[in-house]
C-alpha cells in the first residue's frame, strides 16, 4: 500500500484474539497489539495512534476503565469497545464514562470493524484539523489585537505632542488669537485622539479580565463631568442625582468606560438651538445592582437606527464627530460585567439610556 496506513491498537487479554485480529487487518492497517492495559499505554506513549479497540472483559481491568484512564492524555483518539456479552451496564458505562465512538459485539464482523476504523479515522482527522485551525485562528486573532493595541499607542504619542503644541499656542496668543487655521487643526486632532482612545478602550476591554473593586459613583461621575464638561466647551446643565448608601463592588475601569461614552454622547448630540442643554444622570445603587439613567434633550436618534447604534462603526448622524465605536464599546463592556442597556429616543426631543450593572458585593 502506497498511502500511509492507519495505526490501530488492539487490546485483548487473549493472545489468540490478538493473533487473529492481526492477521485479518495487517494488510490494510498498521496493527499494534497489547495483552494488558499497561502494554497498551506504553504503545500509546510511543506512537500516535488514532484508533484504539479494546475488549471489555479482561482480568486486570475492563475496557471502559482502560478508556477512562487514557481520555485525558489522548483526548483525540477514537475509542471502540468490543464485547461478547450483551451487558447493558457496560454499554451505558462505555458511552458515559469511556466516551466510546463505537460499541461492537463479539465475535467480530470484519467488515463492521473496517467501517468503524475508516469512519473513526475520518472523524479523528476532522477533529484534529478543526483543533489546528482553531489554534491558528486564535493566534492570528491575538496578533491582530496586539497589533491594533500597540499601533494605537504608538499613534497616540506623536498626537499628544501636536495637542501639546496647540495648548502652548493657545496659552501664548490667548485662544488661538486671530489664526483661522489652528482651531481647525485642533478640532481634527481631538477627533483623531478620541478615535484612538476608543480603540484602545475597546482592546483593553477584550484583553483584560474583569476586576472587582469599590466604586463610588459620586466620585466617578464628578470626575467625568469635570473632564468632559471642560473639553466640550459647551454650557451644559448637568442634573446629577446619585443615591448610594451601601457599597458597590464592580469593575471600576469598565464602569467608567460605559459612563464616559454615554455622557459624552449626551453632550455631543445636543441641539444648539435649544434654550438649555440638559444632561440628567440618575443613579440608584441597590444591594444587587446599580440602576443608571442618563438622559439628554438633544437631537435624538431616528427610530430606524435605534437597533443599530450598538453595532461597530455604525454612525446614525453626520452632524457630529463620532467614531462609531463608542456605544459598541459600551455594549461589550456591559456584556463582560453581566450588565444590560436599554435606549429610548425621540427625534428632536432627546435620548435616555437605562443601564443596569450587577453589584458584586
Amino acid at each position: 500500500m502506497s498511502k500511509n496506513r492507519i495505526d490501530v491498537l488492539f487490546l485483548d487479554d487473549e493472545e489468540n484474539n490478538l493473533i487473529s485480529f492481526k492477521s485479518a487487518f495487517r494488510r490494510d492497517y498498521r496493527v499494534h497489539v497489547a495483552l494488558t492495559a499497561r502494554e497498551a499505554r506504553e504503545i500509546l506513549d510511543q506512537t500516535e495512534i488514532p484508533i484504539v479497540i479494546s475488549d471489555q472483559r479482561m482480568p486486570d481491568t475492563t475496557g471502559v476503565e482502560f478508556f477512562q484512564s487514557i481520555i485525558d492524555t489522548y483526548p483525540d483518539c477514537i475509542r471502540i469497545l468490543l464485547t461478547g456479552y450483551t451487558d447493558i451496564k457496560a454499554v451505558v458505562d462505555a458511552i458515559n464514562k469511556g466516551h466510546v465512538y463505537r460499541y461492537l459485539t463479539k465475535p467480530w464482523d470484519e467488515q463492521e470493524i473496517r467501517i468503524a476504523i475508516e469512519n473513526g479515522f475520518s472523524y479523528y482527522n476532522a477533529k484534529k484539523e478543526l483543533r489546528e485551525k482553531n489554534r491558528k485562528l486564535q493566534k492570528t486573532n491575538d496578533e491582530l489585537n496586539r497589533f491594533v493595541y500597540s499601533a494605537s499607542h504608538d499613534l497616540r504619542a506623536p498626537l499628544t505632542s501636536i495637542m501639546g503644541v496647540l495648548n502652548l499656542a493657545r496659552l501664548e496668543v490667548g485662544d488661538f488669537g486671530d489664526d483661522p487655521y489652528l482651531p481647525l487643526i485642533d478640532r481634527s486632532v481631538k477627533r483623531l485622539d478620541e478615535f484612538i482612545q476608543n480603540i484602545i478602550d475597546y482592546y483593553q476591554n477584550i484583553r483584560s479580565d474583569t476586576i472587582r473593586n469599590e466604586v463610588d459613583f459620586n466620585t466617578v461621575v464628578k470626575g467625568i463631568i469635570e473632564d468632559l464638561g471642560m473639553l466640550s466647551g459647551k454650557n451644559i446643565d448637568f442634573r446629577v442625582n446619585i443615591s448610594q448608601s451601601g457599597s458597590f463592588l464592580g469593575d471600576s475601569f469598565r464602569i467608567k468606560t460605559v459612563l464616559v461614552n454615554i455622557i459624552s454622547n449626551a453632550i455631543k448630540y445636543q441641539r444648539p438651538e435649544a434654550d438649555s442643554q440638559v444632561v440628567s444622570i440618575d443613579i440608584d445603587v441597590l444591594a444587587d445592582k446599580a440602576m443608571i439613567r442618563i438622559s439628554d434633550n438633544g437631537i435624538g436618534i431616528e427610530a430606524e437606527y435605534v437597533d443599530k447604534i450598538f453595532d461597530m462603526f455604525f454612525r446614525a448622524t453626520q452632524k457630529n464627530s463620532g467614531s462609531g465605536i463608542g456605544l459598541f464599546i459600551v455594549k461589550e463592556a456591559l456584556d463582560k460585567m453581566g450588565g444590560q442597556i436599554d435606549v429610548k429616543s425621540a427625534v428632536g426631543e432627546g435620548t435616555t439610556f437605562s443601564i443596569e450593572i450587577p453589584n458584586q458585593v
Binding site: 499607542h153 497616540r156 504619542a157 506623536p158 498626537l159 499628544t160 505632542s161 495637542m163 501639546g164 503644541v165 496647540l166 495648548n167 502652548l168 496659552l171 501664548e172 482612545q197 484602545i200 478602550d201 483593553q204 483584560s208 475601569f253
Partner: protein, 145 residues
Amino acid sequence: MNEEMKVMLVDDNEIDLYLHEKMLSVAGISNDVTPFLSVKEAIRFLRSNARKPGLLPDLILLDIQMPGLNGFDFLDRFETLPQPVIDQVTIFMVSSTLDRGDLHRARRSPLVSRILRKPLNLKDLTTAVDYLLEERDEEAMGRSD
C-alpha cells in the same frame, strides 16, 4: 521654598521636552530645567551629583514609554541611589499611555507622587506643583517644631 525649583525632564521625544520646558516657564514654576533624552543619561547625572544637593533637581518629569530603558527602569535604578537623593527629588510621571497595566504600576510605585497625562495642561501641572510645595512646607514646619 523661596529659591526657584530645579526640574529634570526625562523623555525621548524632543518636542515634548521643549513643550514641557516651555510649560514650566509659562506656569512660572521653573526656568531652571535640564532635559535628558534617555534614562541612562539622567541616572548618570543623578549618580555623579548625588552629594551635591545644589545640583540635584527638586522635581523630575518622567516619561513612561521610551526606547531601551523606560520610565519603570528609571524608577528601579533611582531606587538604588543614595537616600538623600531619593529624599530630595520628587517624581511625576508624564505619559500619553492609556494602558491600564502601566497606569496601575505607576500608581502603585511609592516613588511616583503623581501621574500627569500628555498633553500636559497648565492646570494639572500647577495643581500638582502647588500641592507638592504645600507638602514640603508642612514637612519643613514639622521639622522646625
